[in-house]
Amino acid sequence: MTKNLRVKTSKFIDETYKISFKFNGKTYYGFKGDTLASALLANDIHLVGRSFKYHRPRGIMSAGSEEPNAIVQLHNNSSRTEPNVRATEIEIYEGLEATSQNCWPSVNFDIGGINNFLSPILPAGFYYKTFMWPASFWEKYEYFIRKSAGLGKSPTEADPDVYEHKYIHCDVLIIGAGISGIMAAKTSAKNGFKTLLVDEKHYLGGSTIYQNSDHYKINNQVSSSWLEKEINEIKKIENLEIKTRTSVAAFHGYNFLLARENLTDHLPVDQRNNKTRQRLLKIRAKKVITATGSLERPLIFNNNDRPGILLCSAINKYANLFGVACGEKNILFTNNDTAYETAINLFNKGINVEAIIDNREEIDSKLIKDAEKYNIKIYKGYTVVNTSGYKRINKVSIMQLSKDGQKVVGSKTSIACDCLGISGGWTPAVHLFTQSGGKLKFRDEDQVFIPDIYPSDQISIGSCNGDFTLDEILVDLPKTLKKFLNLKITDYENLEVKSSFNKSKRNIWLLPSDKAIGKTKSFVDYQNDATAKDIKLALREGFRSIEHVKRYTTTGMGTDQGKLGNMHALGIISETSNSKMGELGTTTFRPPYTPLTFGTIVGRNVGEYFDVFRKTPIHDWHVQNKAKFENVGQWKRAWYYPKDNESMHDAVQRESKAARDSAGILDASTLGKIDIQGTDASEFLNRVYTNAWSKLAIGKCRYGLMLNEDGMVYDDGVTTRLDENHYIMTTTTGGAATVLGKLEDYLQTEWPELDVYLTSVTDHYATISVCGPNSKKIVSRVIPDLDLSDENFPHMSFKNTKIDKIKCRVMRISFTGEHSYEINIQANYGKSVWEKCMEAGKEFNITPYGTETMHLLRAEKGFIIVGQDTDATVTPIDLQMDWIVSKKKYDFIGKRSLYRSDTIRDDRKQLVGLLTENPDEVLEEGAQIVADINKSPVEMLGHVTSSYYSPNLNKSIALGVVKGGKKMMGQRLIVPMENKKINVIVADPVFLDKENKRLNA
């Protein structure tokens, strides 16, 4: 029978709006305004999960995003299941179904719980130490370790939800809408700054808004009432945008921040359709005010992890905000005034507090005196040494602390309870500040890290800056804001503040116990089950850097990133190793602050929108004609055109043969085209290509090779002289953008004196290449007015002409070794000209071919493909292309590097042809080439770069780079494969028509 622990109504909960939800298969009820955690607590459920390593029962610890234990799996349907959701953050909605994680068969009876009893043999580094021997067994171990790793289950289907990205530019961004954030937002916005205020919660006002207590007053009003008026005011300010349910994930340099805005997760499932689930905000703020508040620290003592143990502030929040009692017999354990505040609030709500255990000996504050009035038994100078209750705490054992706080004295007392509140003081939430590159300093008096050096135009205010009491905050804030925003006055001058909170604290990182440390389980990182004992063990084993201790013990490495226990880990390290906290530093705080789903990160860039792709003007024709496509950079290029279920091999053989026997047609529109104009255009080409350009006549084309300054081949292509001062350069498809960039670089930085203008015109023209012995006949039908005779239009020349009144450029150039023409026409006419060519070529069996056939045809001719036959280590000399390197030119890019001691070596890898002894055997591209297979180690001479079966030569052909290959002509080498050795003979890379007779055929 479950109890109802809902107490006095809270105005934040709408008790008229009942919501049913399922937890571990059972139906419960909560109200609008509840989180899953508060609704479970109202039903007296503390046990929600099992810990990672020991599978210990764990309950709700906190009431916010720092929650380490109460993480659940949500099930909306199989593709929307979500692991590791913090029960303290998810607002309940009609249809919510959640289950516990990391337990089997159930959270109440979990087989893995046996690890808890095996824990003496599962110390820190257990996996590292145990699974090292024998090394060969790792694969077997891994299978089992992987199975037990991880908490929740990731969805198995694609995420059906829609996410989006949004850019926001603002003058002032304020992170956190607690009292400091609200005051900052009002001040900023009222002074004309375009202001954005974000908070991860669905309500504004932080922890002040639900503190209904006479102990905190501003201008003689209870602080929450005062703040409520402020909130109502700021909602009316026009240039202030407020975003709730928005969690800042990352704070990068230059005030660039990423935040996740949750839009639908709180809605009933049936109201979410067609709505964007989450938005990733990319915020660029001129100024940032961080007001992220602080996180309450737990206390580290033996068995401090049982369900029913919560932070004092969480108990306070559940009572005040949600109207829920976390237990009926409450005990609070503290080292500061927070517990008294909680106790008084609980009393006012009619919730009993049995006792307060305070590790301070001498205490005196208004809060404490008031608490005493309620007849709460206060144990001063005591500590909890143990707790009991497996699935819910039922008892605490306490003992007196010695004067120095290092050990316990006297006899043990036990007190029964069903809930234990713990408070170890407060830790400023400096996560975002440090992510931005900020440097922290350690404040010794209350043992906290606070912001010190700001890397950008930003400040931290309120408790994230170490100002913990209301009076501190309100007195400092006006001054700080005036200075930061350069203002003369704020609305908050001379506020009258009453705060009963006394800052005294007795900080003991690891509380002593009557048991030896080896016999205790004092959890520092709850989620990852790292105990104080583990940290001490790591230090004994020689780890010193906190980053190493973190990784060895996994402290702070869970989904909560150790928001609660990291400071204690540091404290224990510092005490054990006798180093100062300030010098020890902290581990790195990395984004995101709370986990983000991948959907939010990628936004709309999914599926076909993952990356842009470029289509040629003739693309639709290729699709209609069932081409298979290949990605070349961002281009979709027709790869081959299978006919009647042809295999790729058969299609390519057919296409290759047709192109040489009669006619082939290729869409070459993707080739890069750069329009070059200016009086120094010829001189410019002279400097960027290895060969000479000055004497190229107007109307002629020339093949050029471009090097990097290091002498290595960078790009190639044919450039045509259109006019005296006008060229059109073609580049490789993949190199178009980088070649243009490189040319612009030289023009702007090294040779600004040259009068040259570059324009990329790749997308402006469609390029259709018609090749083969019948190409001339076909082109003459498409362009009847053009005189195609060799005298008028020889190989490597160009003509301006027209097809049906549309201007076009025709080049007689060839990448296949066949007689061929390249028609360049305004892009939007590309498809119709292509269709004209197909029509005109019908009787010659004109065959469209794709990139694969193009590669095969050029390989037969020994033409290289930059990037396939070359990498960034191949010179033109290595390619046996000495003929293209001008000896006469004084300089060109890369020239000097061609006679560096390294580039003139004889034994560089050089491009050669390879013929297999068995002509039917086709080599694999990338296969290694060796000479002597028996030598140990086998010396690798090079590798195969291109390999095909040539239907025109009826044999296998290949190109490859081989050390000293030029001098190996006719020699036999070996290509060793997994289960065979293939003998190859080094050959001339030109396999077909060495005399170039076909060009003019």
Binding site: Y254, D745, P752
Partner: protein, 91 residues
């Protein structure tokens, strides 16, 4: 991600730009007259300073102009931007 003040376009996101290595390395006018060592000095040797560094940047997705930038590599503070051919700031 920085905001870079392009000398031609004004402030833009870093993603519009590309870095081009150390600035003020002039391509030798007569490479053929250099020894291997001298050429290697030009070709390969670049400083990698923790601190203030002079760099080349290009506004690739903008005006496509190259310019120089003085940046503190330890905290990414951009101290100055100036056009190609202009003298670097002395301070």
């Amino acid at each position: 991600m920085f905001v870079i003040n392009c000398p031609y376009c004004g402030e833009r996101e870093q993603s519009e730009f590309k870095a081009g290595g150390e600035a003020h390395i002039v391509r030798p006018k007569q490479p053929t007259e250099l020894s291997d060592d001298q050429w290697a000095e030009y070709l390969f040797m670049r400083k990698n300073i923790k601190g203030v560094q002079f760099e080349r940047w290009v506004h690739t997705h903008g005006c496509r102009k190259w310019f120089n930038m003085v940046r503190d590599t330890s905290n990414d503070e951009i101290k100055a931007v100036y056009k190609m051919g202009e003298k670097p700031p002395t301070k």
